[in-house]
Amino acid sequence: MKVAVLRFPGTNCEFDTQYAFEKLGHETELVWHEETTLPEDIDLVVVPGGFSYGDYLRSGSIARFAPVMKAVKAYADNGGKVLGICNGFQILTEAGMLPGALKRNHHLHFISKHQTICVVSNDNAFLNKCEKDEVLNIPIAHADGNYYIDEESLAKMEANGQILLRYSDAEGNRLVVNGSVTSIAGVCNETKNVFGLMPHPERAMEAILGSQDGIRMLQGFEA
């Protein structure tokens, strides 16, 4: 598998993301935000975490207009798989490639810790190696992770299996972590080829660092 990892001014998770996919035996290539095309023969585009453009105006609001995002949009419109992690999730919602928006955490604090999350739907190209209702231990690190979606759209997303992950306790019960609507931690688009989540699977690749639950998440794209 070949993975394109985007890089904007202020991105800071691109090397962790490369490490994670290379550990799984895949080829990766960093793509600078000023590029107007994506590398050929890629199987996945990852929009990694960080603070693109200093989070000015709103997180992800400037990065979504970077030249490379046109190519990413065209790639996704053509059925290509795109994964946004943390700031990448924010960029994809700002770009309208994922429904909803990410607001400031309800308690206004930056959260950085390991968090248990529950797999809500695994019927997709991302979480197919995880069990439904399985609880994973994945680090989170964000100030703007408070997912908002209106009730009508939420009901449609639920019915279509677009809610991927929810913050939970170790037993899988919903947990309020940042104020997200129904504790949502990750979603996908209607056609299930664009994915976004606030937790960082690329930081959960080594048992010695607290968890390797990220491995099975990212392996989903191998199928």
């Binding site: 105006l57 928006a101 607001k103 206004l108 408070n146 908002y148 104020g179």
Partner: protein
Amino acid sequence: MKAIVNVFLKEGVLDPQGKAAHHALHSLGFEGVSDVRIGKQIILEIDTSDKAEAEAKVKEMAETLLANTVIEDYTIEIA
């Protein structure tokens, strides 16, 4: 001419910063505040003397970049 864009979270979308400020005002003894909403003000200098043209331009800017209309509303004042 000058354009002032006020951006704020939509009615019904919980405003965490407004809530925190509201709570702080209450703690400081300020009574009779039933709600606090925090937004942002963006001031633009537009190179035109045509008010309608300025308004149309700024509206497009607000829809495209300055506000996220999934969660935010905006108002435009041309001065």
